[in-house]
């Protein structure tokens, strides 16, 4: 066992969680609700997004259950439409967008750059409150009867033809948008201004690079979404007619505006996940990330190109053929940096010294599933095949491979990887490895059949479907059950580990990041003294020298 793991834990009979840390520093509910500490805010975020993840997951479960049979027999068509709308809204705006940045990013970025906190701690707390207000509005919407526009709010359906709670949902997303703008702003300022001495841009961990790229997207993209949603609300309340053809408006304009945010939003969701994978793959193969600069710049390239591909959601909408040419070409270009990252991660393993703890298993899962998700994106980016495949289950499968197979795997990899740092305790290794494998199997069984369904032409958002599609849907629903178990397991054993997990010590993974050179859980100020960065990121030889020095001086 000892040869197959890099975990080095302190002697469990004498080890204690440090008495003074960010969790024990102050007590009482108010000390949490009024905190400025990025680690506490990250904890608040972690609890709240997990809550929303399970609401969204329950909705997904109901959707899959309804699709077990071709008829609408579990819920009526109206209810089904509300289910998938709320599933989309909650999973995207209340889970995926804040998932890695607001939890892991919040927790780690100040430590990774060697700072005491984010640059604007109060704004950070404000952004959590905005998120909670938005969340309450979303839950109110659901309790009051839901909304059935689809998460894309396509006009004129959302403005003139539905009488569900479009306004409260739109405003909920509007408010949630400010939460993510503030988070992004905070990260950008912190990364620019708060780096410790010696921390040059090219010594930053790749997690920081990818969150930086995502932050730029948040700050530049989200306002467009906010304006678009305000226009929807104005259209419904006072009928300003921007999107109404009867008043000289253009319903397609809505889609241009909506996707101008919502395509970059896809990269807001996936880029921070890519950052997690860089950290995990490097740590568990004991090697510097292969081609650090290429991986760092590919994040920036994705962020830049990501803004110029939005119309690929509209190839069949009657936009000009030449616009289609341009957007299809740009879409192909944005696929390249993702391919570069996958190969760079794979070659990080080359001549490494690899171990297979849970975060690494999730990272392997990410690499496989993201490759499929990315390649099927090219099917949709090529304008010809897009005509057949868009608006079908193919596209549903594609974005679930990227978002669930990619982002959620990365999120779980990150949660397991930094759990010892966050709580001071290890998660149980064997059962979590099992959970990673169960998730991988369940995921493939759920979403792979949907590629075939999409190729057959089964449209998305159908409450009922022709009977010959049933077999594949049964597979998909069966897979969703397994996937559900895969997601419940971590909640159970991570909660268990809060009390019973082994004491982790400062650096159980022998990782090089600055966050691992301080105690776990960290002090409120993160470090005893501001660290000085005198080596490159992922310098395992530096770590070894330092540990030898420590042994020598103690001995």
């Amino acid at each position: 066992m000892s040869a197959a793991t890099i975990v080095v834990l302190p002697d469990q009979s004498t080890a204690r969680i440090p008495k003074m840390n960010f969790i024990t520093r102050e007590n009482g509910l108010l000390s949490w609700l009024l905190t400025g500490d990025h680690k506490r805010i990250a904890t608040l975020y972690l609890i709240s997004i997990t809550f929303f993840f399970f609401i969204g997951g329950a909705l997904a479960g109901l959707i899959r259950l309804e699709l077990l049979t071709p008829q609408t027999d579990l819920v009526a068509a109206d209810t089904y439409n509300k289910l998938f709308t709320m599933h989309g809204v909650i999973m995207i705006f209340f889970f995926l967008v804040p998932s890695v940045p607001a939890t892991l990013g919040n927790f780690l970025i100040p430590m990774m750059v060697g700072a005491k906190d984010l640059a604007l701690p109060k704004v950070n707390l404000l952004s959590w409150y905005l998120y909670i207000i938005a969340g309450i509005m979303a839950i109110y919407t659901m309790a009051a009867g839901g909304v059935d526009t689809g998460w894309t709010f396509t006009t004129p359906l959302s403005t003139h033809y539905l009488n569900t709670h479009v306004i409260s949902t739109g405003l909920a997303i509007f408010v949630a948008g400010f939460s993510s703008i503030f988070t992004g702003l905070n990260f950008i300022v912190t990364i620019h201004k708060m780096r410790c001495p010696g921390m040059t841009w090219f010594r930053l961990p790749l997690f920081v690079w990818s969150n930086y790229a995502a932050s730029i997207l948040m700050v530049l993209g989200t306002p467009v979404l906010a304006i678009t949603l305000v226009l929807i609300v104005l259209e419904r309340t006072v009928g300003i007619g921007v999107f109404d053809p009867a008043k000289g408006g253009d319903p397609l304009l809505f889609q241009h505006l909506f996707w101008f945010y919502s395509h970059p939003a896809v990269y807001i969701m996936i880029l921070p996940g890519m950052g997690v994978i860089s950290e995990v793959v490097s740590t568990f193969s004991r090697k510097r990330v292969f081609g650090y600069t290429a991986v760092a710049f590919s994040s920036v390239a994705i962020a830049v190109f990501g803004f110029f591909v939005w119309a690929h959601h509209m190839f069949i909408m009657g936009i000009s053929n030449y616009a289609v040419l341009v957007f299809s070409l740009l879409t192909m270009l944005v696929a390249v940096p993702s391919a570069i990252k996958i190969f760079n991660w794979a070659f990080t393993l080359y001549k490494g010294s690899i171990t297979f703890e849970t975060p690494m298993l999730y990272a392997f899962g990410f690499m496989g599933l993201f490759t499929i998700g990315g390649m099927t994106g090219v099917f949709l980016g090529a304008s010809g095949t897009d005509i057949h495949l868009t608006e079908t289950y193919f596209i549903v499968a594609h974005f679930h491979f990227v978002m669930v197979g990619g982002m959620l795997m990365a999120f779980l990899a990150g949660i397991h990887f930094w759990w010892p740092k966050w709580t001071g305790r290890m998660y149980p290794e064997k059962i979590s490895q099992l959970a990673a494998v169960v998730t991988f199997i369940g995921f493939n069984l759920t979403f792979f059949p949907q590629f075939i369904l999409g190729t057959l032409g089964m449209p998305r958002r159908y409450a009922a479907y022709p009977p010959e599609f049933q077999i594949l849907n049964v597979f998909s629903t069966a897979g969703a059950t397994i996937l559900g178990i895969g997601y419940l397991l971590p909640v159970l054993y991570l909660t268990w580990s809060l009390k019973y997990g082994a004491i982790a010590g400062n650096n159980p993974w022998q990782a090089t990041g600055l966050e691992w050179q301080t105690q776990s859980p960290p002090l409120t100020e993160n470090f005893l003294e501001i660290p000085i960065m005198d080596h490159e990121a992922y310098d395992y030889e530096w770590l070894e020298r330092m540990q030898q020095k420590e042994v020598a001086s103690v001995g």
Binding site: T154, G318, N321, F379, E468
Partner: protein, 358 residues
Amino acid sequence: MNQISPVLWQFLVKWLTNFALFPPEASKIAPQMDALYFFMVLVSLVGLTIVVLLIVSFSLLYSKKRHPVAVQIEGSTLLEATWTIIPLGLFLVMFVWGALLYFRIYTPPANAMNIYIVGKQWMWKAEHPGGQHEINSLHVPTGQAVQLTLISQDVFHSFSIPAFRVKREAIPGRYTTVWFEATTPGTYHLFCTQYCGTNHSQMIGDIVVMTPDDFRIWLAGSTSGNSLAQDGERLFASLSCNACHNPRADSRGPNLANVYGSRLTLSTGQTITADDAYLRQSILNPSAHNIQGYAPIMPTYQGQISEEGVIALVEYLKNLNSDYRIQQTLNTTELPAANEGSAAPAGKSPAAQGEVKP
């Protein structure tokens, strides 16, 4: 098995007897689309295999047990250039190939038979040029290019025929087109693929592909008596369009004979081609484009004519190729009601007779 679990039994029987894996290829474009599709599947499989092979072989070769000390490597410009350039090249091939298909699917040939499709919550209405109306079904012949001109009466819909590999959005207030040439007779799925409200999943129908002979029989048996253009002519007369749009020298509106496809000069000096979209807009929102030399006095017909009505008018205008035809329309509407029974003068074209209701 049947005793153990009837549900499982039913599932297995269904699996073995009715398990679709790939849609039928029933149009000329379908095999071309599938060629690109399978090329992409192949590239994806090769790419995925490479990634999985790299992960698995490195995991085996360089596990901590076998390879206790990692060798630090910065990177390799050559390798990185390889996996930048090869994917880029493949993606560009897919881009060009895809774009060729895209232009083919959305550029109808000149000799295509045009069928109008109107989408509304939650049904598809098809208007054949011969006046055949269909709801939630579309009959088309094999071996003939068919162009669909789509419009929506309310929200976005999308007209999808998986067996033909074509799909086009039906947009409120705007015509869109798509074309196909069916090759194999049979009945295929028609789906609305753009989410359009409560009964989105009921907005489905059948595409019935027939041999040209069967199609002729079907056309003859399904006629509503008037062609689409005749419907339009009747509407033209009943809305008194011909009060202004006539060939007289003192007419208040431009003469509409041969207007379709012509270049018009607007009062702003711009020129514009009179296509379907232009004609539609000029009826519903005439003040958007004023023709040079005419006062902007035409009232809007927004809300007074249904999308089918507009389609009939446009179809009438498309076929309006001489002043004589307008004159005929003019004469019949001016006939006193008492003479209705013997209204049709001898020598009048049969098309014009339809507009006087007995």
